[in-house]
Every structure is written in C-alpha cells, then in structure tokens.
C-alpha cells in the first residue's frame, strides 16, 4: 500500500515569553501512514500530540525535518470544540462551507448534503439553524467531524474527537468514523489519551513522550508486552494492566 503521509525527523520549538531560549516541543519525530490506515497517537497531556497534527497541516512553522503528505484535502478535527466552530455562523452554514469551496453544488443540493451528514453523525435536522453556542459540547464535536467529512478527505486528523462525549455517543461517533474509514479508505490519525478506546479503534499506535516517540506497534502486541516503562505506566493508569 502506498504511503499517504511521511514525517521525518520533525523538530518543532516555540518561543517562550519571559525566557530567552525556545521550548523544544517535538524532537526528531518520524512516522508514516499508509492509505486507509488508522494510526493512534497517544501520550500524556503536553507531550506534543496536537503539535504534530498542526505541523503536518502546516499550521505552525517547523524547525527541521520533512513532511510529505500525499493525501487529497487532509482535514482535522480540533481538540477544542469551543473554538473550532465559527460562533457567528449557523450549523448549516458551517457544514456547507467546504462544499462552497470545492464544488459547484446548488444551494438546495448543499442543504441536502448537510442533512445527510447530520444524519450520519447522529444529529437531528433541527440543529441546522442553530449557532454553535446553542449546542452542547458533544454536539459541537460531532459538527466538527461532519465539517471535516464534507471535504471527503483521504486523511483525517482527529485530535481527541470524542473526549467531550459520553460513552454511548463516543461509541457511536467512533462507529461512524470506522464505517467511513472502511467505505472510503479514509486514513485517520487518531489522537487520544484514552488507551482503551484506541485499542479497539486503531491499526497501529504510536506512543509519544516529551515530544519524542518512545514506542510504536500494533495495539495487541503493544498492550500485551509494552517495551517501555512509560507505556506500561500509561496502560496502568488506564486500568488495563
């Protein structure tokens, strides 16, 4: 299978206020994804997961390394469901925006598409004319996923897409992602700190610590015999070991 994403020796640092030196956030991160693969990215808070995602999509400048992304219209579901939807627009407008950008769909056609997507992500049609501020966190996060899916991407970067959802809906959303993954060969970079969910969802998991990759492998092997102490600790706190 061809590679859809290749990151080599990625280094990212941020300028720090009040201090002279820059804060090194990612050090020599290399990873690759194949078409249609679900890659899990786990690690404790502040380990640099979101930074990798943003670097891949070119939202932050990188210091060193190469990023090759062969995917058509890569999309991202942002971690913070509160700031990733435009507060001034309605749900329907937000969901239509990718269509306006990429296709020549008529207004009516767009609305139809919006309705079907809403259905897919398990939301009612009557949410269409609401503003994001009138939605619950879970609903917002699902709208984010919906917007990302609208562009029919080949690669989806999902930054903790289900953390704000309760378990039943979590399962539903993951199911949705999985089915699209299967139908359209969608590759997903799944960022989470929930090792339980990842076990079932991912084809491969990368463990990140302090901006460095400490371990990677298939979930089953990784969970069964973690090589690194840190991985073990993570598994332990998740109550798996």
């Amino acid at each position: 299978m061809e590679e859809i994403l290749k990151v080599e020796k990625l280094n990212v640092s941020f300028a720090q206020s009040l201090k002279k030196n820059r804060k090194q956030v990612l050090t020599d991160v290399s990873l690759s994804m194949k078409k249609g693969e679900i890659l899990g990215l786990a690690g404790e808070s502040g380990s640099g997961k979101t930074t990798i995602a943003k670097a891949i999509l070119g939202m932050i400048p990188i210091d060193q390394g190469t990023i090759t992304c062969n995917a058509r219209t890569p999309q991202m579901v942002f971690q913070d469901p509160y700031s990733s939807l435009n507060p001034a627009k309605t749900v329907s407008w937000i969901l239509q925006e990718p269509l306006r950008m990429k296709t020549k769909e008529t207004a009516a056609g767009r609305v139809e598409k919006v309705k079907s997507v809403l259905h897919q992500i398990g939301l009612e049609e009557n949410l269409m004319n609401r503003k994001p501020s009138e939605l619950s966190g879970g609903q917002r996060q699902r709208i984010c996923i919906g917007t990302a899916l609208m562009s029919e991407p080949e690669l989806l970067i999902a930054d903790e897409p289900v953390s704000a959802l309760d378990v039943t809906i979590q399962a539903q959303v993951l199911q949705l992602l999985k089915s699209i993954h299967e139908k359209k060969q969608l590759a997903i970079l799944f960022i989470s700190h929930d090792l339980r969910t990842m076990y079932q969802f991912c084809d491969r998991i990368v463990i990140l610590r302090n901006g460095q990759i400490v371990e990677e492998g298939k979930p089953s092997t990784l969970y069964a015999s973690p090589k690194e102490e840190y991985t073990r600790l993570l598994l332990q706190s998740a109550g798996i070991r």
Partner: protein, 264 residues
C-alpha cells in the same frame, strides 16, 4: 444518614414549555461513604449535585422535594444559613478546571477563601493550612503554587487545587462533578487515588459524578444510574456493574471498550 434527597424535582421555566430536568430523585448517603452518579450527558447529574450544594440558579425554576443534610432541609433553608454550610460542611469540585478558578486571583487566596469566610483564623494560620492542603493533594511545590495564578498551572494541577480548595475547611461532604473528564489518563488516575485517600483519612463522604462507569466502579461504594432526570437503577457498584438490571445500564456498560489481552 448524612444526606437524604427525597422526591427531588427540578423544572425550568425559562422556555415556553416548562422542562423537567430532574424527576422524583431519591438518594441517600452515609457519613464517609463514596456514592457515584452515572448517566449520559444531560441526564440531570449536575442538576442534582448543584441542588445539594445550594447552587441552583434561583430564577426561572421550580424545585420540589426535600434535601436533608445533617438535620437541616436545604431547599427551604434561607440563603444566609445555607451560606454557612457552603464551603464549610459541603465542598464542591467542578467539571472544568480551566474555568472554575478565578483567573485574576492568586491560587493561595482561592484555596483559603473558605477559611476566610467560615473560620476565624489569622492570615498566617490560613496560609499554613492552605499550604498543607496543597501538599496533601501532592502539589509539592506548594509555596510556588500558592503564589501562582491559575493560568500558570497545568490542568491536572488546577484540578488538584480545586480539591484542596474544597477540602481546606474539612467538609463532611465533597461533591465532585466529573472532576477528571478534562484530564489525561495518568493525571486522572492520580486524582482518583487522591479522592480515595481523602475519603479514608478524613472520613469525608464523596458524591462522585461521572459518565465513566468503569471509574465509578473502582471508586464508589454505591452507584445511582440516571437517565432523563430519573434514577433508573441503584445499588452496590459491583452489583450494578456486573449484574445490571436495566437496559440502559447495560448499554452504558456495553459501550465501554473491552480490552481482552488474552485473545491475541
């Protein structure tokens, strides 16, 4: 019996059609007991907790039922007397560590505020107590934390600060409304550990709210399951977890990702 909620019903009237968000909820808690409430989003968990803490908004809503805490009925208690309980006898930890702390007030001041309001202590005594609690919640750099502002701390640290602030006056009842959802697993585990320790050492009763059944199973003695504002099931947590009676509970349990390492 430390806390008894009898037939609690909460209705909102700020929309055209009154909305009942809590219906006939009855619960009870012993001293030193850890009780969990689980249920999906919007099922009325927070509302129940807030009504115990006396924090329900006063306008546009109707409350029915009784809440007995140490021989006092909270719903009919005048605001002034309720205030004496808040922070002193009843401590509360909120879901969002990011926003639940005052961004422009030093951590120390926020932690010791309950003391300032309820105890007649000198400034240094308050400080001592606050520092000791910061250390108890494993914020080892307590002096620095005391002088910091919330934005200078990580999410996990803030959540621990919240716990310290809730515990500083030694309440009999600690209400923890989803205290770990915003945290990553490692920190989450630490917080649960911490709550257990507090419960053991101080014999503080904890009302633990979460939508994560597996967490609740580990921590709580008993659990109430809520759906659409009603308690659908309750019992010992082991019992509910391994032998659920209601369909809804079964669904909740089924949704927990199962990791069967043996199979591979």
């Amino acid at each position: 019996m430390l806390l008894e909620i009898k037939q609690l019903t909460i209705e909102f009237h700020d929309h055209l059609v009154p909305e009942t968000v809590v219906k006939n909820v009855t619960m009870s808690m012993e001293e030193g007991e850890i009780v969990g409430i689980v249920g999906e989003s919007g099922s009325g968990k927070s509302m129940t907790a807030l009504s115990v803490a006396g924090l329900l908004p006063r306008k546009d809503m109707k409350k029915k039922g009784e809440i007995w805490f140490e021989g006092q009925e909270l719903l009919s208690l005048p605001r002034k007397e309720l205030r004496l309980l808040q922070g002193d006898e009843i401590g509360m930890i909120f879901q969002e560590p990011m926003t639940a702390l005052n961004p422009t007030m030093k951590i120390g001041k926020q932690v010791e505020e309950s003391l300032y309001l309820h105890r007649d202590l000198s400034r240094t005594e308050r400080r001592e107590l606050a520092l000791s609690w910061l250390e108890k919640v494993e914020l080892n750099d307590s002096e620095r934390v005391y002088e910091s502002y919330p934005h200078e701390l990580s999410g996990g640290m803030r959540q621990r600060v919240m716990i310290a602030a809730a515990m500083v006056a030694g309440p009999k009842l600690l209400i923890a409304d989803e205290p770990t959802t915003a945290l990553d697993v490692t920190v989450q585990a630490q917080i649960i550990q911490l709550l257990k320790k507090i419960n053991e050492k101080n014999n503080t009763a904890i009302l633990f709210i979460s939508h994560d059944l597996s967490l609740v199973k580990d921590l709580c003695d008993r659990v109430y399951v809520m759906k659409d504002g009603e308690v659908v099931e309750h019992g010992k947590s082991e019992d509910v977890f391994y032998h659920p009676m209601e369909d809804y509970t079964k669904q909740l349990i089924a949704a927990i990702p199962v990791i069967d390492l043996e199979q591979d």
